[in-house]
Symmetry: C2
Subunit: 458 residues, 2 copies
Amino acid sequence: MTSHQQAVDALRDLLGDRLSTGPSILDLHGRDAAYSTPRAPDAVAFPDSTEEVSEIVRICARHGCPVVPFGIGSSLEGHVIPVQGGISLDMSRMNRVLKVNERDLDAVVQPGVTRTQLNRELRATGLMFTVDPGADATLGGMASTRASGTNAVRYGTMRENVLALTVVLPDGRIIRTGSRARKSSAGYDLTHLFVGAEGTLGIITELTVRLFGVPERIHAATCAFEDVESAVDTVILAIQSGLPMARIELLDDFQMKGMNLLSPELDLPEKPHLFLEFHGTEAGVGEQVETFRDIAEAHGVSDFRTATRTEDRNRLWEARHNAYFAAKALMPGCSAVLTDCCVPISALAECIARAKSEIASSGLIAPIVGHVGDGNFHLSILIDPENPDDFARAKDLATRINAAALDLGGTVTGEHGVGTGKMRYMRAEHGEGWDLMAQIKRAIDPANIMNPGKIVEA
Amino acid sequence: MTSHQQAVDALRDLLGDRLSTGPSILDLHGRDAAYSTPRAPDAVAFPDSTEEVSEIVRICARHGCPVVPFGIGSSLEGHVIPVQGGISLDMSRMNRVLKVNERDLDAVVQPGVTRTQLNRELRATGLMFTVDPGADATLGGMASTRASGTNAVRYGTMRENVLALTVVLPDGRIIRTGSRARKSSAGYDLTHLFVGAEGTLGIITELTVRLFGVPERIHAATCAFEDVESAVDTVILAIQSGLPMARIELLDDFQMKGMNLLSPELDLPEKPHLFLEFHGTEAGVGEQVETFRDIAEAHGVSDFRTATRTEDRNRLWEARHNAYFAAKALMPGCSAVLTDCCVPISALAECIARAKSEIASSGLIAPIVGHVGDGNFHLSILIDPENPDDFARAKDLATRINAAALDLGGTVTGEHGVGTGKMRYMRAEHGEGWDLMAQIKRAIDPANIMNPGKIVEA
Ligand SMILES: Cc1cc2nc3c(=O)[nH]c(=O)nc-3n(C[C@H](O)[C@H](O)[C@H](O)COP(=O)(O)OP(=O)(O)OC[C@H]3O[C@@H](n4cnc5c(N)ncnc54)[C@H](O)[C@@H]3O)c2cc1C
Ligand SMILES: Cc1cc2nc3c(=O)[nH]c(=O)nc-3n(C[C@H](O)[C@H](O)[C@H](O)COP(=O)(O)OP(=O)(O)OC[C@H]3O[C@@H](n4cnc5c(N)ncnc54)[C@H](O)[C@@H]3O)c2cc1C
């Protein structure tokens, strides 16, 4: 009997039918939302509590069996795939909002709570949780990939929005990091070590996250430009002039074409667009919109449409959140290779220009969409999954664009994370810093059981 | 010859007269700005470059000789005191602003640059660096203590304001962490690991920090209340209602008495005060001030004075930055034991109430001042340095107040850091998380040469 099998048997004693080896469950936990080679886990465990997670980890540690945390599996770089087999730890049953501290603008949640669930439960409070990746991801998964979304330019990413964590370490110890105090200088910043660690250092079993008051006034808008350059220059100037944009998203003409296929009700011209949102007081939002329009008009904006009714706004942002699927709609049956560069805002125009010229010479279709207020944009490079040549060309295109981002002082991943897919860039991005990451991994997880094969070579 | 002496000899060959063993230099590098037992280093090194710091560290590592980084020594918990002897590494010669990226709102600086120096060099740009501890500290020291100041409620602490670092590791390797991109998910967050590490994991030799545009309109104000409770309740309501206060500082009646001794030109009534600042557009600031006044009036505010002229504002904040010395002016010749609690804002009133009742029963004088918008406040517990009984009572008072802060879900240090002075609280605050910190320390600095005896027991 293999050591994995021994772990599975011991876990069955602990969990009963909350340990599954059903083929469809295994299959579901062996793939992610993008283009990685699937591999099924030996079993999927569905824990109910922090203490149970600790028990599970102790059992797996005893048998040297890998543990791969699983939120909803919406990550895009092979994160959740158990490349060395082992246990997929599905957090979906730990999905309760434990406490909303309205007076402190924070909430304590279990890791399986999703972003839309949390906002639904907050509805009566006048508060909101702001981080919004396109997928309805879990907060544990989002913390672990250091996720962000359309609001990050104003309200920050998971890096800024996680205040405290409960974590089960690879030896089963349970620790609490951070506190509900807004700042602290009490030693090493363990919270930020686990945020973005992709489950390689431990399992997050509880999170305290920041909330914000729903602004008095919300004003959404879309506007079209003749070319991507004009749209990007508008963004750069808006950010540099200190406009507190709540959302400022770029969609190029290809992306808009896909969007019209998927969300025809929006009926927007197939030109490069910015999708915008302004938050503030009545007067403040008025000022912001005016300043923004002045900047946009200097860059030849056309078709400035506003959406102030809640349902119109929701429709707009739902379409934006589905941008990945809209891009894929351009080529039925396609797969997509994604890039996730993020550069200093001053380099954004240059980086996108280089990307566009690389796309042109590749002959591939690759719509561009991005959280451009942060300097972050994605290509969805569309490929025929049956055509291995397509995949090679897409990887080559991604490599060139990532090299450009590093060359311009940026990062190859603004928000998706490393998983297995982006490991090949880590040496170029971090130099010897990558070795230090591996040193930390080995110190915390010497047996390398926590999501092995991701982020570092341990 | 001891190993420390061997290191000193080798360093002299490298540095010439930039290695000092002069008694007054040693003395200066063997004490901090508060109440810790002095101990001189074996020598003080004044490096000029990252490469030289790396050389120094390699030499010290070879001889097992401690290295204690030194900014300007304004920290308050014994941080810079070489408790095991060794080399004090004075960063004051590495004091150049290397680059201001106006279009990206960031600056690259050497660690010996001070906060006022950076702002002086930024004057022509319309940009500002916002973190402002009372002392004119170095940015390397501020990053290493995760410092904050009066603006943190709006612009964040060093945690939010450091984007990237160059660090010399305990074995001499040089790494770069982070990048100038505003966000990244490329692996473990090494930047945040070094921010707040108090020189125990390596030496920061370059920092990229965030800048903000100087707001169109700045409006400062002071206002008095009948009691501390009313002032604190005003703060809590202002923060909870989402007012984007740029500064909101509490000074109790004792603190105001001291301030009138040190800064009589302010001529403010000796009642509990809030010192305020509002940043924004002309219209935005008008709105903010109005909303704030409504809240304050509901809490019996009196003597609302505004300061819009730059020189009046500067005078006000200079007085605030000297609050520590103002407190000490109440008892000529005294020393002070400081507390630095930070609690969730909903617990602030309760925590300050408990502190005041503990002060009353202690019979000691302990003015209260604080960055209350963050839930952070300080007691300066005044003691006669000749009277050991005073010191014991002060420590006892501090212990009780820190216990209250932990009990209320807070931290014993919101911004000053651990050093040696706050180590005795770490177990209570972090539980087994403190062991994890020690594990990380041992992984990165196995020989324990970087500022040994601080934060963790390695
Ligand atoms: C259509 C679409 C749009 C997207 N848009 C965005 C976007 O705008 N911004 C963005 O940042 N991402 C985006 N993503 C990617 C994805 O949604 C994020 O990476 C998200 O954070 C993943 O959350 P999840 O719950 O699906 O986690 P999973 O994919 O299940 O897991 C992600 C990683 O975290 C680990 N993990 C999960 N839970 C825990 C836990 N409790 N403790 C420790 N480790 C854990 C896993 O092991 C894995 O390494 C998008 C994905 C899709 C499909
Ligand atoms: C009057 C007064 C008011 C104050 N007000 C505040 C306040 O409002 N907020 C606040 O946060 N603090 C405050 N402080 C405390 C102090 O100013 C801060 O802790 C500051 O960050 C220390 O900076 P420094 O340059 O003096 O560092 P130092 O005291 O020289 O060093 C601090 C720590 O950082 C390490 N260190 C220094 N440079 C480096 C480097 N380059 N690389 C690695 N490690 C390094 C040292 O080893 C030490 O552990 C105040 C102090 C005084 C005296």
